[in-house]
């Protein structure tokens, strides 16, 4: 039945819309910007599940459009993020960003529906191009460059891995594998770069805050979650993911707790949350994979919401540093509500989407008897509430601050936030509605009394600690060193160190070579003199050579 839609995929719709967008003006442009994501979401659901169409391309049997359940889950999440993101960003004046955002969203859909490794890779790279353009359209060319280079690296690692996989197995299909040979390790490494895993996790917090108020919303939704989807498809149950995930969760927590900039804090938190998903994928049971997908779904919604709130604050105040904010709750009530709902969802407060998905993950860990990871993630959950549920709203919105003449953002931004708040709460209140999408969670205890009690204790206890240790959590201007020091500052330091050394060393080498050079100059000059004067031999010299030659012959004859 896929045939009836031909090549019409959500990805194609969005990418084409993105390419056409710069050519349009006025309401036509805004209209297309809003309609295209809706159309894509409709297509996500209209495409019948099935094996998809096989296309022969360069001798490879490609399946560019393979709608399955996982594609539908992520397609829906990506679709919702694109719709609300477009609504939120419709008042953005940079057309490049809008166009790039559509291409970016389209590439994410493309990854979701890709039925083979090659298609996957192609959209993977388009995703990187689109996201880079989103960052660049805000003018931060250095950060964008760093982002682009990291993703080129990730892309080519994946590329090499895919090539190895195809030449080893001869199949381009997406099948569950383990990282058991070098090629597959390459593939895993490439995906992990995009997922924001250590050691290259620093790009997330480096690049995302550099986009515009609207651009960051898009960025927070697609790249890392697309990587999660690919991990679900390719590496379910890969043990290495457990540790990568845990490391990301710890990293995200620690850096977010220290961070001062709202959007940077939220970026660190993305890494932390994706860590949860990776641990679930590392478990690999059907429930765990469903939980990972569900968590990605929820995370896309609440992280978009959080980024929207941050963007609203940025647009209204021109500021995102917690140390410079405060007391916004009164002036921006709706934004405040959005921020709190998003934060609570991230912290898995009951009745939010995050509670549903995190419950599923914990249930999967319990089912998988992964005690260590269960306790570790529980403890990190408690910590997460500190930075996002308490620190963020308190310092940005509620703590007493100077009174400013600021207003709520424009209606379209508010509408987008309201839409997301509604969705998050709806899912939180009626988790069973999700069973149509992810039937695996039917048996998970979500809104049971003991579970709710457990979660509430966790949150209230963390709140107590927050109140007690508040002085330690006070945001301060500054940056936390990260691995990106290696490529952002080390080269400069090395150059600076090398600069005073280079002249003496070069001089020493030159001095050492001087005698050789002098000799060579003399030699070559003599040679040139000899050669250019070669026509002026004296007759005697010729006679000498003739005699010498003759003598040689006669001597040899005599012997």
């Amino acid at each position: 039945m896929t045939e009836t839609f031909g090549p019409l995929s959500p990805a194609l719709v969005l990418i084409l819309a993105g390419l056409v967008l710069p050519l349009l003006r006025g309401w036509l442009r805004d209209g297309l910007f809003l309609i295209a994501p809706v159309l894509a979401l409709v297509l996500v659901w209209a495409l019948p599940l099935g094996p998809g169409l096989v296309v022969d391309w360069l001798g490879l049997q490609l399946v560019p459009l393979a709608p399955d359940r996982m594609a539908r889950i992520f397609g829906t999440a990506f679709g919702l993020a694109a719709i609300t993101g477009a609504l939120y960003g419709v008042s953005q004046s940079q057309v490049t960003e809008k166009a790039a955002a559509l291409v970016y969203a389209g590439a994410a859909q493309g990854i979701a529906f890709a039925g083979d490794l090659v298609t996957l890779f192609i959209f993977w790279e388009i995703l990187a191009i689109g996201s880079t353009l989103v960052i660049w359209s805000n003018g931060h060319w250095r950060a964008g460059l760093r982002y682009a280079l990291i993703h080129v690296l990730g892309g080519v690692l994946l590329f090499a891995g895919i090539a190895a996989e195809i030449s080893a197995t001869g199949s381009v299909g997406l099948q569950a594998i383990r990282a058991d040979n070098f090629g597959r390790w390459l593939m895993l490494a490439g995906i992990l770069v995009n997922a924001g895993a250590p050691p290259l996790a620093a790009w997330v917090a480096d690049a995302y805050p550099k986009a515009s108020w609207s651009g960051t919303v898009f960025l927070s939704a697609f790249t890392t979650k697309a990587a999660v989807l690919v991990l679900i498809r390719l590496f379910p149950g890969e043990p290495a993911l457990l540790w990568f995930g845990l490391a990301m969760a710890v990293y995200g927590l620690a850096y977010a707790l220290l961070e001062n900039d709202i959007r940077k804090l939220l970026s660190y938190s993305i890494v932390g949350q994706v860590g949860f998903m990776l641990v679930a994928i590392g478990i690999g049971s059907p429930l765990a994979l469903a939980a990972a997908a569900l968590h990605a779904f929820a995370h896309i919604l609440y992280k978009s919401l959080l980024m929207m709130a941050a963007g609203a604050i940025l647009r209204s105040t021109g500021e995102t540093r917690l140390s410079a904010l405060g007391g916004l709750a009164r002036a921006m009530p709706l934004t405040t509500v959005a921020l709190v709902i998003g934060a609570f969802s991230l912290s898995a407060v009951p009745l939010t989407a995050g509670f549903v998905s995190k419950s599923a993950i914990m249930a999967a860990l319990a089912e998988g008897r992964a005690a260590f990871f269960w306790f570790a993630l529980t403890s990190i959950s408690a910590g997460s509430f500190l930075y996002v549920g308490l620190k963020l709203p308190w310092f940005a919105m509620f703590r007493p601050g100077e009174r400013r003449e600021i207003a709520e953002p424009v209606w379209s931004m508010k509408a987008a936030m309201v839409l997301l708040c509604g969705t998050i709460l709806a899912i939180g209140c009626v988790p069973s509605a999700l069973e149509a999408l992810v039937p695996e969670i039917a048996d998970v205890a979500i809104l049971t009394p003991d579970h709710v009690l457990f979660q509430l204790q966790l949150l209230i206890a963390a709140s107590c600690i927050f109140v007690v240790l508040l002085p330690l959590l006070r945001p301060r201007a500054g940056t936390t060193l990260d691995v990106d020091w290696l490529w952002r500052e080390l080269p400069r330091k090395v150059v600076a160190m090398w600069a005073p050394l280079s002249a003496p060393i070069g001089g020493a080498i030159a001095a050492g070579c001087e005698p050789l050079r002098v000799y060579w100059t003399g030699f070559s000059r003599r040679a040139v003199d000899n050669l250019s004067g070669a026509s002026n031999w004296r007759t005697g010299k010729i006679a000498f050579w003739a005699t010498a030659l003759l003598a040689t012959y006669v001597l040899i004859a005599a012997l």
Partner: protein, 487 residues
Amino acid sequence: MTILPLNDPALLALSLALPALATLAIAWLGRWPNLREAATLVGAVLLFAVVMMLLAHVLQGARPELKLVAVAPGLTLALKVDPLGMLFAGVASTLWIVNSLYSIGYMRGNDEPRQTIFYACFAIAITATMGLAFAGNLFTLFVFYEILSLSTYPLVTHKQSPTAMRAGRVYLLTLVGASMVLLLPAIVWTGLVAGTLDFRVGGILDGKLGAGALALLFAMFVFGAAKAAVMPLHRWLPAAMVAPTPVSALLHAVAVVKAGVFTVLKVTVSVFGIETLQTSGASEWLVYVAGFTIVAASVVALRADDLKRRLAYSTIGQLSYIVLAAALASPVAVLGAALHIAAHAVSKITLFFAAGSVYTAEHVTKVSQMDGIGRRMPWTMGAFAIGALSMIGLPPTAGFLGKWFILDAATGATNWFAVGVIVVSTVLNAAYFLPILTRAFLRPAKGPRREAPLPMVIALSATAAGTVLLFLFPGVPYRLASMIVGG
């Protein structure tokens, strides 16, 4: 399916005669610039038509042959079309049209002197390229290889400044010198050992030389074809950057460097035979040399401020991808190498066109002067962006194709060194191309919008479009490339 009653040998003869005739016409019409340029364009279009007719036949399995003249016993000038040559000829003849169009804009836009010689030598170079592509034996290949070197010398020294003359000297000495000292003895040696100089898929040397001798002979071919610019014989390429941009395009995209890698590839497939190379391991060392060239050239490009110099080193690196693939010596590698010839041609010509267009409009030659140029010349720099993406190997551009199969071959041979080289160089490619784009598009512009002359913009837009189209519809080149080894 022929429109004209032309048989294959006639077409083959025409493919050499047309550019040669164009040369004469250009020389004859030198006094009337419009007619002269018309002659170039007409020649280019006719040649393209002829090559396309040949292409149709080759795709159907025909392998036209034409014996030109027996120079001496054992030395015959003979043409024979095979898929690899067809691919090369197709690329060159297509790009000749675009390059001619571009040249008209460039040469007039910059008031260049001695345009008649320029167009005439260009046409000779195309003649030589056709002969090279369709060469039926090593001797023919060598003859046209040398004609190509000599006919491009006046182009390289076109400016006749002391720098240009010096560059010309380096150019000629390296190319002709290497070809005479290494390529020619290699050919003679081959002839002596194999008893023939004719190309044959699968090779003519099977079992006739030991592994060490094979490796030596292979080295003589690879370095003898200095047009492939494998380090350390690469200096001529950056030196030749003093030439006008259409010449750079000819060097980097249409003919010259491609002639080098074509020779390497052709020798790999049809003199040694990939199986012989595989089993003897005679080409293994080249993986490391080519790998080093790729990475080192990229590092140099990273530090080059002169735009054309950066592009030149990029070419050196990209060429070595093809050489690397030849060294891997597997069907997939050859496929990748052949596709990369086409892909690199169309994208590098775009980059050079853009560089020349920027020079013509703004007299900008350095990357550091390119701030905001993308806002002023959106078409030019947009095309440049596509070319750059292709160089990095990102879809949806042609550069992806070749890289894909070369990587496939490298992983298939579990040659992790080659894989590592490609990974590192891809990142380096991005590192030296993307800053140009960020400068051009993100820095503030210093003036109003002002594009280069129209013929140039048309030409570079066409090649940029070609870069994307080649990715989307790679059918014909792919079929040709996959026929190279399969027969």
